[in-house]
């Protein structure tokens, strides 16, 4: 069967066919979704690139799809009213890879869409960060089947609890206890239950805002148990009143979200690296020129910046015309980079990913969310590894051959890498007396290892330092970048 990545919704499923993202929709759901897609709200959000563009496959395309291997089995499991094709988001990412700032942006988009579609007689039937991907730094809502017709007299928003579990409570936990999105979403598909956050609270905090309304009261009320009648629909005769109640709920959620907005300024070991690092001004300029020249020469369309830190070199790649995915293990750096990219509308997708422990495949049968390496392999025509190799070799004890093998898998074109010799000040700082383990790490051995996988286009020694920059080109014919 074709690999189905989204299957919980009874109205259809999402799957990949080659590079195309398709969605089977059952006939009843199609009758709901088509009018919504034609509505003013949907058109507006698609135009603003906040809702994924979608079209229906015509009969010819559907016939072709029916011939595809695996579709017949899929059609047996799901009633096919139509097949929709979604605009592909270049690099999917998941909430456990986001800094809190991106989770906040996804939450705001969910609320904006959830409230705006009320005017069309629709509502969201779920509210989870897995409905949102990021195109560069901009969030885009991708789950079209989340939209359903609402009874105009229904004043209750059923996904409210899921919104709290997956957006509000994780952001609250980050603000007060530094709990990262990765800590929440790596182990929990549906975020934090209120009773889990309740256990974090001390005796006084349980009675203080915002914990009283968002954590304590729901926990106490759920302990009492409830009559099943609360799960039934409660309809008001006055539709205007129902809408008033819903608008009030969305406005309250928006204010609650704003109170847990992640603030800039959390300092970490690496958050001011660019300011405090040991390069002289001349050497830093030389490094910039080397990278800029390489990018101008090869004109990559997709760049992966490993160990991006503040994103200075990701910026250079964007200015050279590339779309950039920038990864770093430092949450604060990634959050700051996202904030800047979002404000300046730069096509940089920053993710919290440790290359030595990248996100694994997750979900049912490890198929719902693909691993970072599966998404990244062959997806970039240039990879930057600046001031990161020595950390991999020394701190993480990854052999040089392994690092270069991975780099060769990630890039389809060029690798721009900074080699740091054992005499470098930072190398010695992180080695802490273990330099003998890297006695054979010399520029000659490094270059010999590179030549097994790459051609060395050029190299540059930074004056007065033990650092060299290398521009390496993948040996053999260049493979086309995954579109």
């Amino acid at each position: 069967m074709l690999p189905v990545s989204s299957f919980r919704d009874p109205d259809g499923c999402c799957f990949a066919w080659g590079k195309r993202i398709l969605r089977v929709v059952d006939p009843d759901a199609l009758a709901e979704i088509e009018p919504f897609l034609a509505s003013g709200t949907a058109v507006q959000f698609v135009a603003r690139q906040q809702l994924v563009a979608t079209r229906k496959l015509d009969s010819g395309e559907l016939d072709e799809l029916r011939q595809a291997e695996g579709f017949e089995e899929l059609a047996r499991r799901y009633e096919v009213g139509a097949v929709l094709e979604h605009e592909r988001v270049d690099f999917p990412s998941y909430p456990y890879e986001w800094p809190p700032e991106m989770l906040y942006a996804a939450a705001m988009l969910t609320l904006d869409l959830g409230q705006a579609c009320l005017a069309e007689g629709y509502g969201l039937k779920d509210a989870t960060p897995y409905n949102v991907l990021f195109r560069g730094s901009k969030p885009v809502f991708i789950d079209l089947l989340s939209f359903e017709r609402r009874h105009p007299g229904d004043p209750v928003w059923k996904p409210h609890a899921q919104f709290c579990r997956t957006f509000l409570l994780p952001l609250l936990a980050y603000k007060h206890w530094g709990v990262r999105p990765a800590d929440v979403f790596t182990k929990r598909r549906d975020g934090f239950e209120t009773n889990e956050v309740y256990r974090f609270c001390g005796p006084l905090r349980k009675f203080l805002p915002p914990f009283l309304m968002q954590v304590s009261l729901p926990t106490w009320l759920s302990r009492k148990g409830a009559d099943k009648s609360i799960y039934r629909e409660h309809i008001l005769q006055n539709h205007e009143q129902a809408r008033f109640i819903l608008d009030s709920l969305f406005n309250r959620l928006r204010r609650a979200l704003q109170r847990v907005e992640p603030k800039p300024g959390r300092r970490t070991v690496w958050s001011d690296y660019t300011d405090s690092c040991s390069y002289t001004e001349a050497n830093f300029s030389a490094k910039e020129e080397f990278v800029s020249a390489a990018l101008a020469e090869f004109k990559p369309s997709r760049v992966l910046d490993i160990g991006c830190n503040t994103g200075h070199f990701s910026d250079l790649a964007v200015r050279a015309g590339a779309q950039v995915v920038a990864i770093d293990s430092d949450l604060s750096c990634v959050g700051t980079l996202w904030r800047q990219a979002h404000e300046q509308n730069r096509s940089i997708l920053p993710l919290v990913v440790d290359l030595c422990r990248p996100s694994a495949a997750k979900g049912w049968r490890n198929r719902e969310c693909t691993s970072f390496l599966e998404r990244a392999t062959g997806a970039f025509d240039a990879v930057l590894m600046l001031a990161v190799l020595h950390h991999l070799l020394v701190t993480e004890r990854i052999p040089l051959d392994e690092v270069l093998d991975l780099a060769a898998e990630l890039t389809t074109g060029v690798l721009i890498i900074e080699f740091v010799e054992t005499g470098d000040e930072m190398f010695q700082t992180i080695a802490r007396g273990r330099e003998h383990l890297h006695a054979d790490l010399t520029p000659a051995t490094f270059e010999a290892a590179c030549r097994q996988r790459f051609q060395i286009v050029r190299a540059k020694q930074l004056d007065g330092t033990h650092r060299r920059l290398y521009l390496l080109k993948k040996a053999g014919p260049k493979e086309s970048v995954a579109a």
């Binding site: 009874p10 996904p159 709290c164 729901p218 759920s222 609360i230 109640i245």
Partner: protein
């Protein structure tokens, strides 16, 4: 103000064919949402009364 209606007329659908819940609505959260909704629903009528009296006052001032 509240009309409690439950119509399991179609499989997976509630009132007049509108879908039933899809995600876990959470017991405590749902109770709290409905309690707050009841209070806000009452405010809706207070707001209407306030708007009515404001229009009345504006009319009186215009006349005089």
């Amino acid at each position: 103000m509240w009309v409690l209606t439950f119509t399991p007329s179609q499989e997976g659908k509630g009132l007049a064919g509108y879908p039933l819940a899809y995600v876990d609505p959470g017991t405590g959260q749902l109770i709290l949402q409905m309690a707050v909704a009841a209070c806000v629903g009452a405010l809706f009528y207070l707001k209407r009364i306030r708007v009515f009296f404001r229009k009345l006052v504006d009319k009186w001032f215009k006349k005089h």
